[in-house]
Symmetry: D2
Subunit: 361 residues, 4 copies
């Protein structure tokens, strides 16, 4: 199956890269939430292609239409559907793909699984489907803002270029200040140049996104399987091109001693229980502890490149393939709103689940 995410705040998406439309149905949205089309559109605009020369030049205005669940600007509590028509298909670019499998794309595995696939633009495996997630994430953001929760993501590294960013003070404005979406302005410039150079060479690069959540109360998450970090890991690894996930100290924490890694508790001036360090990444035993939630997501270099590569035809014949025309030399700038959206979907779902089980007993 695979097209539904969440247990109580549940999103179901549809749509292929070159079909008529992509869209999402949200089930379980709280009623009387302001649903501001312009805010959803703002998020979609951050994800859409053609924002700068770092991103694919495919022309998509990504105009969202609300199909149900909103009455006079407020959510009704019933299923909330949104749709984005696809515009710029150019399916002629994809004729070669009908016969040849693109390396490190989903062409072969989809064909092997289903015995059929939507060839143009990768069909359902295209990053285009993430537009639906971003729209849903903008609705989740309404719920989170009401609860005082803020989610931010930014580009932390491109290849070996790594930014220095202060988790505590970074703002959404800092992130949007440049096309790379890296709030370290000096490093952002170097990243831009790197990506642009790679683009000119018809190649691609990967990197790491950092994401945080502020204001999360100490009770989101669940024991055992639905640990908050487990649901976040699933959310992030469901994003196309992601290859790794860390929460808190992550892989670096594996070289520390327990006496260094443990987060000592103390009570702050207001009596609130806090931790001195935050190697836990704001989650202990699967449940948020009130500290900043911190995570990282690894993105591989874009699979589409404009260089000749070895591959096979559907019949298993040896051949070569070479991407043409439009491509993203680096997915990271456009992945920022997608990571934020998935982060928000997880937090909103756990917020509602907490209300179900614990709130107002």
């Amino acid at each position: 199956m695979g097209n539904t995410f969440g247990q109580v705040f549940r999103v179901t998406t549809f749509g292929e890269s070159h079909g008529p439309a992509v869209g999402v149905v949200i089930d379980g949205c709280p009623p009387r939430l302001p649903i501001v089309l312009a805010e959803i559109q703002t998020q979609l605009d951050r994800r859409k292609p053609g924002q700068s020369r770092l991103t694919t030049q495919r022309q998509e205005s990504d105009q969202v239409e609300i199909l149900s669940g909103v009455d006079q600007g407020l959510s009704t509590g019933t299923s909330l559907a949104m749709m984005i028509r696809n515009a710029d298909a150019r399916s002629k670019d994809y004729s070669e793909m009908r016969d040849k499998y693109r390396p490190s794309h989903a062409d072969y595995s989809y064909q092997a699984k289903y015995g059929i696939r939507s060839v143009e633009g990768g069909g359902r495996a295209s990053a285009r489907e993430t537009a639906a997630r971003v729209a849903a994430g903008a609705v989740a953001d309404q719920i989170l803002r009401n609860a005082g929760i803020e989610v931010l993501a930014w580009v932390e590294s491109v290849q070996d270029l790594r930014a220095e960013v202060n988790d505590e003070t970074v703002t959404a404005e800092d992130i949007e200040a440049n096309d790379v979406r890296c709030p370290d302005a000096a490093m952002a410039e170097r990243m831009f140049e790197r990506i642009d150079a790679v683009r000119k060479d018809g190649d691609s690069v990967g990197g790491v996104l950092r994401a945080i959540a502020r204001g999360v109360p100490p009770h989101l998450g669940a024991p055992v399987f639905d640990k908050l970090e487990a649901d976040l890991a699933k959310a992030m690894l469901s994003i196309p091109a992601s290859k790794g996930f860390e929460v808190g100290s992550g892989f670096a924490g594996t070289t520390m001693l327990g006496s260094e890694h443990n987060d000592a508790f103390y009570a702050d001036a207001s009596g609130r229980i806090r931790t001195r360090s935050n190697h836990s990444g704001g989650i202990q035993g699967g449940i948020s502890n009130g500290e900043l939630i911190t995570l990282r997501v690894a993105f591989k270099p874009t699979a589409t490149i404009l260089k000749e590569q070895e591959t096979v035809t559907k019949d298993g014949k040896s051949t070569t393939i070479k991407g043409r025309g439009r491509h993203d030399p680096c997915v990271l700038p456009r992945a920022v709103p997608i990571v934020e959206a998935m982060f928000r979907l997880v937090l909103a779902d756990h917020l509602l689940m907490h209300r179900a089980q614990v709130a107002s007993i």
Copy 2:
């Protein structure tokens, strides 16, 4: 909620560290599968405490009892329940824990969420609940073996000590050849010494597990949210003390160029479509491509240490706490069967889902 995992092969677990028992109910188990108690017990014995001086000396025989779903050694297709009685409780060791929050444990976050918690041994947050997962994983293993799929995990690194292991040739026997469960014998010895030294110092260390699956056909997984790597990431991050997950090239892949990272397709002598490299880790577009599935899981150093640490009481008063008696200086050797179990649960679930949707149309 949080105590159920999987969609079609669905396991639900119960039990606290110092309650009467831990256990699991499997719903959706195929019928007429040989359920061999000794095999399940073997897996539980790999996870149980007291195996060597590297692991906690808590005495638990972890004898599993089958409560339902098996008739004359075969699964009946109805709910299959298994239970492991807790024996060695020693709840006096935990009296201090009633008032003080142990750093980097779940004590505080559980209390903050539920307003109550099972204090002894961490209750539901204890790694003891993973015994239930291991029992379920042994049943999943029956399904996978019938399909020709083998899952293996081993200790790849402890702190900075990193083993060299050949994914293609490593065997279950190699892994079980030493107490560390690291198939690089020379490095295993150094790891043993490191862990033992840290143990004597009352401290703890973390490390990285490597896991692979062999023989996975090119069709497990699903598009979008239930990508195979997404479900694996959730599975692994749901294990106590895990902090990170990588599939294929993982974080290291973020420094490569697309032209280096892409896995070129070719047809092997038998005509089977293969890839030259396997940076994808055996999964493309969320669906297995027939190559080895490869992943890594980061485990932090054990939170329980025998050194004095700063913390607070339930009332927020400043105090110190110091672990006593039994603890695991390093969770990795015992985490090996847990990682294998979770890996198997994910693969078995996706195997059955594939049959539901695609097989025998």
Copy 3:
């Protein structure tokens, strides 16, 4: 939540009576299934308003558009979305409804639950949302026909007028032979006259639908909670205006003795195990036994009537209300394709679940 149905063949619907559109997303649809737009449209045409003077004169062409999941006439196995634009809104007819609660409609309970509601046409509570179910049911029918399963429903009674129909021999053509969708032609005429008389009087009537499934193999269903009759009961009671459900002997069976009610087994000429009677309605222990599956659904008289009725305003003030213009004096003829659709959704889901758990072990 409430907008998703099914576990493996899973449909999620959206849309209000007077919003932009209604639609459905199917997750888990098998790939390479012929998706024939004309067949889906045929089912929608059986449900649409304005078919005869027995049904509301609202003008809706109910043209379905496929948004995703179909490639060159075949399902791709990824999420299959369909949408039907709403045309004839006439929201002026509903101005009175903004302030007054219509008796035996969902106006009050929706308002009490959500604190907001889509007033026009009953919003999400409108029978218009069933168009989405009918479209999904037409896809399920493709799966069932491949498995040799046929589902039929017809009007068995209107008020006290009860048809005599032979379950074994009745055909789809017999049912479509008249506007009432009752295959007993003589009784259909009397029903027509009854409904028409009531319509002229501005009143409404209810009745009972009968539905059967032929060719169901002896293995659909599951023990305990997801018994086949349990899922069918839920499916039928989820249809607007339904008030009761029977399988097999139903309420009438409660007056029989066990020795009369039990269905004796015998082996037919071909050696197939059959039952002499079918009081079980083709399901035993929650699992189909290979006999005809038989059920009944009770539909109350339409709540919208053109007579003055006592009610209250949103502020609790006493007032009266009177329906105007278009209404269905009897929902039963249009409920036939809806009952068939829900029946098919249940069977298709259980068919795929059976394949997941049992088939091709």
Copy 4:
């Protein structure tokens, strides 16, 4: 699958009639709820065999053991497991059943589905599994009582003998006043005699249970598929031997005119919006409207009878079978606590879902 019920308050059961135990795991139970073993035991005692000569003489003390999720008498919010050991197996009574299919039991359909079955006592298809439901229902009752909701069920009819009971005034004590669990004392005596006469004849009878819920606030339920009556219908049809379900006016309502059936709204002295009649059964548009929720469940005559019946062997050979020893001549008195339990599971689940989506926005 089939062994899990509910979305947020989720119960998973296990256990066969003659296996080691039956039991239940509750996921999503609110924390800090008093879990009083004696109250759970009281409900189990109402369901257990051997209560009077109307029920099977199998000796089962049905002592419940809590395995997890309770700390010092309060629920912890983590998975709550309960187990009831089976005592009186007498499997020799069942030797004949290994070869012959009992008419109108699940023997044949289980065998046809799974190719294997737990023969003794019907295995998982036995009404014995409902003990687990009753235990879970007792926990749900704690949640409902906190919310001011009371659920009652009683025997309304046995064959043609039909009691007169006032929904508004009937009490739990009235129901428990006799072995039949019919609060119409005079009719209860006639029912007792009827059942006893049938028992002596080795035959069985069915009947109808009535159930109501008082104090349900006007907001439980959901639109479309998870309508409150739909989930109740599923709950009731999942009980062994049930064949029909009605909410409100049910099948009788199909003979009324809309003008008779509609429930006029008015505001009572306190300003609360009420309905003059309650043909809706307390649910409109799938959501409770604050009136009494009323339903009926049809139970067929027990399939086990002590008379010779025609059947076949596993190999399809013609033979006869005759029940021996212990049986329930009428399931209805023992079905009362089961119907109450399932009713409570549905209401508790919808109560928590309402809190998730709507409460404390």
